[in-house]
Structures are given as C-alpha cells and as structure tokens.
Symmetry: C2
Subunit: 260 residues, 2 copies
C-alpha cells in the first residue's frame, strides 16, 4: 500500500479523467467503481482491478476487504480522507474505489443459437435508466444486452452505481448500430417495442426460442431503420392521458414477459 | 393579471414554503406544480387552481394557456424572469407554475366492491420512485393507490413532476397505516409483495376480483404487521447476485400482472 498526500499524483489524475469523460474511459479501456459494495462485487466477479484507492478511514473500517482487493490489484493507494473526498464522485464517500478494466463481452453471441433472451438498447440516453435496466436484466436472468454505440456510456459512474454491480456480471456488447446487429443475426426472433395503439399487444407475443427485443430512446422511441430490421413490432397497452412509461419501466415489463 | 416585482410578496413567500415543506403543504391543503405540461394537465384535470404565476417571457410564449388558466385561477401574477427564477424549483424554469388545492380522494373506496385493482404503498421514501409508480399506475389503469402517512409526500415537487401529471388524475388516499386499512376492508383480496425465495411466485398468483397489493419500503420491505394483515404473500422470482429490484420496477411488474 502506497501512501499519497499530493493531489497531482498520476493515478489520481487518471481517476478524475475516468470519472468525467466517456471518451477517456473508452481510450483507456478502464472505468471507476466506487463504494464498498461495488468494489466487493468487482472482486467477487473476477474483474481485472488496476488500482485500489482507499481513504485512511476506509483502510481501517474495511480492512479485510481492502486487504483482499489489494492482493488482486496492480497498485493500491491510501489517501487522507480530505484528499479522497476531493476525487470522489459521491457526496458522502465511503472512501473506497477501484479502477477496473472494461468488460465488453463478445462471447455473448455464442448463446444466441441456444434459446437466449436478449435486449437491444438503441440510443438510451439517461444513465439512471440504463443502470436500472441492467440491474433488472440481471434479476430476471436476461442472457445479454446489445447497446448501440450512441447509448450513454455503460461505464459512467451513475450507470455502474445504478446497476448495483450488474455491469460486472451481465454479458453485453456495444455495436455500431442495432440495425446492423439485427442484419447479421437473422436466425434470432427480433421484436421492436413501439408506442403505437395499432401494433400487436405485448400480451399476444410469444417469446419462444432465441429472441431479441429492441428498446428505443426515451423521447423519440426506436429509429425507423431499427423497426424496419425487426421481424415484428409490439406495444405495451396503456391507458390515461400520459400514455407513456419510463424507458426503464417499459423495458422491465418486457423482460419480465420474455423470461417469466 | 397582477404584475409584481418585489420578492416579499405574500403569494411568493407562500409558494416558497409550499415547495420546501411537506408539513406546510399539509397544513395549507395546497401544493405547487411547475412547467407548461403540468399546468396544462392541472387545468384539463379540473383541479382547483388557487394561483397562477408566470414570468414575463412565459406570459408571451404561452399566452393561450396562461389566459385559460387565469380564468380558472383565484389570482394570477406576472413576474420579471429574474424573480421567477428565484422562486422556481427547477434548474431551467419554463416560467409557469400553479398553486393547486390538494386532491385526496376518499371516493376511491366506492370502487373496491366492483373488481377494482389497488396498490397500497407502505413507507415508500424516494420521491422519484413514488412519481414513477404513479405514472405507471395511470398507464396500466390501476383504480387507486393507498399511501401510508409515512410515505414521502405525494405533493412534493419531485413526485408531481415524476408522475407526469398522474397525481391529478389517479384516485388515492392517505391512511394512518396500511394494516388498519386492510383490517377495515376485509372483502378485498390482499397480497403482500415480499422478497422471500420460499414465498409463492407472482406467476402463480391470480388477481381476479377486487385486489390490493402491498409494496414496502425500498430498504426494509413491508412491515411485518402489514404482511400479517394480508391474505397472501408472493415474491417476484429473481436471479443474480443482487437479487433485488428497484421498488418502482417491482411495483410496475406487479401492476402489469394485476391488470393485463
């Protein structure tokens, strides 16, 4: 464990850039997870841990965990609480974070031939929605997530936190476009989730066999090109003046129907 | 329309208190809704509008709407944009808000005898969750919501906003405790949603007839006393290490099963 008191330490600078910039995370193939539970999740999930950073207080308080993580981590750094607070992304920091190697998992596609259930996210923008969708996908046993490259970054601190660690355990892959993904995997049953009173109802859809359901942007829904590439479209029947569901809620009800 | 430039106007002071304090909202039987869409919803839903407050810019931009609302409102106030920004609860204000009379609707209980589907919320704490649950309840056609008095305030700005106006249109009632509510309405089928691998599965539950499902606190679940007062308990089957769902997600999947 290396004790550091200067703010201009290269690892700390690296972490601050990782917390702020999706582009930098992509270029560095690394991201940050913060908090006791998430760091423990990263360890248990066999993630490749590049750095462990703990505050003096956390080193004391979570001594077992920091010991275990530091054995797996390329480096381990201890900071005064005040310095830790400056780099933390949270308001009331627990004093522990890890830098993790990114996890895109293309082996996902092996499962497509054997009855897998997949969700394809097209231009989802809200990190809270994405985090919740990942958490729910894990809870419901979804086999993999396909994300268009213009979705919000799966490695952003809000998504990692909101996913409750599902980001470490789920299979997912980032593709140039959902449309081109669908065109390359023609033997999977593909569905477009749309808001359209005239579309077939979710309750009438059978999700037997290998399936992928495509979910679109919060404001604009699915791109026409993606709907066109899907074998079928369906809608969640709704009442009321709003006639709309939050994207995470809509996704969850759909995943529930896919796997239940 | 009354033009005001002084910050210490009594209506403006009243609004600031309403935005900040649940206790004050309860005592005053009033709450604030802000933004063009919500104010329009309040008007269309026949809410009792006590005050309309608009900025100079909004008066211009939404002239039709402000004209219509001011005809129904007890008073109408125009403010300079800079003063409006000071009282607003949002970061980028649209410049229009209304003070509305609270809407608790005890007529809810008439429906209980005729096949209604109800959700009882026990100590839900997060306003974002509550707003989302209300929005989803409206979309799925739930007949009414029962809230324990220790839920977060249904009239808080975050809940009103998150509900997308459902708060104006849904039937709901606030009760001292969900348990005493269940004890007074014994002819309704009551269910406790629990996290318990050994409980009956949601997929095996029939929601025929009049039903109420009870949903508990985000961290601690349902109180034992509420579970005890329910006719049956069930769980949403889950996988993964987290084995948990966000309260709004769990509620949505349950409401979907109740009404679909």
């Amino acid at each position: 464990m290396k004790h550091i008191t200067a703010k201009d330490n290269p690892t700390l600078k690296f972490i601050q850039k990782l917390l702020k910039s999706a582009k930098f995370r992509r270029e560095s193939s690394a991201f940050v997870c913060e908090g006791k539970r998430l760091c423990e999740d990263a360890l248990l999930s066999g993630c490749e841990i590049k750095s462990l950073v703990v505050s003096d207080t956390a080193l004391d308080k979570y001594s077992d965990l920091t010991e275990k993580i530091s054995q797996k981590s390329e480096e381990a750094i201890v900071l005064p609480d005040s310095l830790y607070a400056k780099i933390s992304d949270t308001k009331t920091p627990q004093g522990i974070l890890c830098v993790i190697k990114t996890l895109d998992n293309p082996s996902l596609f092996d499962k497509i031939k054997c009855n897998g259930k997949f969700l394809a996210l097209d231009n989802i923008q809200d990190p809270v929605n994405l985090g919740t969708i990942l958490r729910t996908a894990e809870a419901f046993g979804i086999d993999g997530i396909i994300l268009s490259s213009d979705c919000c970054d799966i490695y952003s601190p809000k998504v990692v936190r909101g996913s409750m660690g599902a980001v470490f355990r789920l299979s997912y892959t980032i593709v140039d476009s959902v449309e081109s993904f669908l065109n390359s995997y023609r033997d999977i049953n593909s569905f477009a989730a749309v808001v359209d009173r005239n579309a077939e109802k979710l309750t009438d859809i059978s999700f037997d066999g290998s399936c992928v359901v495509c979910i679109g942007n919060e404001g604009n829904g699915l791109r026409r090109s993606v709907i066109g590439a899907c074998g079928k479209a369906f809608t969640i029947p709704m009442n009321g003046r709003a006639e709309s569901l939050n994207a995470a809620i809509a996704s969850s009800v759909i995943m529930w129907e896919m796997v239940k």
